[in-house]
């Protein structure tokens, strides 16, 4: 740095001395950060999917939805299930009465 550079730097720092970020803006930043923290789980998930295993978030949501649908479908109770459940209990109760009497 030559003399001009040093003088320029000093003058610049002197002019900037009173230019500061207001407390109001700092409060706004903290408020927005708190709002962002509420969505933290989604951000972590998106970050993990995009940056760690390179899978788009939408694909993951679709896969989870499909798995849930298939899972629920396989556990759906049909009329046939109810009929066989009732028949089995009737047989068991009948056997109990026959043994008891």
């Amino acid at each position: 740095m030559d003399r001009f550079d040093k003088e320029f730097k000093d003058k610049l720092n002197m002019e900037l001395r009173d230019i500061r970020l207001s407390e109001e803006v700092i409060l706004r930043i903290h408020e927005q950060v708190n709002k962002e923290k509420k969505f933290c789980f989604k951000d972590v998930l998106v970050g993990f999917l995009n940056y760690e295993i390179k899978l788009p978030y939408g694909t993951c949501v679709a896969a989870v939805a499909l798995a849930a649908f298939l899972g629920i479908s396989s556990f759906t109770v049909t009329d046939k299930d109810i009929a066989s459940f009732m028949n089995r209990n009737i047989i068991e109760i009948t056997e109990y009465w026959e043994e008891a009497h």
Binding site: F4, D5, K11, L12, L16, I19, V25
Partner: protein, 167 residues
């Protein structure tokens, strides 16, 4: 370093950089807020490949550039660098120093084209070396040195034309 520590340490430095680029106090506040939110969102992804201040200033410069591109007027796009490359010792140093006393250097910086502005701010205000500026702006040393030289010459030219006549 926690986010609160980053705010405490860099709040004024970032705000001043933005203000020097943009020239509007309220817009500079909004852009500074946007920069800190970006820092917060990306802090978990910072892996320490560069120093934290290089990373923070990269985000700052990128955000300012995005804003500057959006708000660039046709006049800015058509402006050309009018300075010829004068050697450093062709300037009258005494007159330059006199010009400095009579001018607002912030307003001189604000009138420079963006590509010179960002380099000069990092050099004069952040006191960074050319190598550090290279890693922030992602340009080779030769380009940064050339921008520094031409930007400095533009400042000197403005100082001689305006600073001396004001005094």
């Amino acid at each position: 370093m926690s986010f609160d520590e980053i705010i405490d340490r860099y709040k004024d430095a970032i705000f001043r950089m933005v203000y020097m680029h943009i020239g509007d106090f309220h817009k500079a506040e909004d852009i500074t807020q946007e920069i800190f939110i970006k820092i917060f969102k990306n802090l978990s992804k910072f892996r320490g490949d560069s120093s934290i201040f290089t990373w923070i200033y990269k985000i700052t410069i990128n955000t300012i550039s995005t804003y500057a591109k959006r708000s660039r007027t046709m006049a800015d796009m058509l402006s050309v660098d009018y300075m010829e490359d004068l050697p450093d010792d062709d300037w009258d140093e005494e007159k330059l120093i006199e010009g400095l006393q009579n001018s607002s250097v912030i307003s001189l910086i604000q009138r420079l084209p963006d590509k010179y502005k960002e380099v000069l701010i990092l050099y004069y205000y952040q006191d960074l070396k050319v190598e550090d500026i290279c890693s922030i702006i992602n340009e080779p040393q030769g380009t940064i040195k050339s921008k520094l030289h031409r930007g400095r010459n533009m400042l000197k030219d403005m100082l001689l034309k305006e600073g001396v006549s004001n005094g």
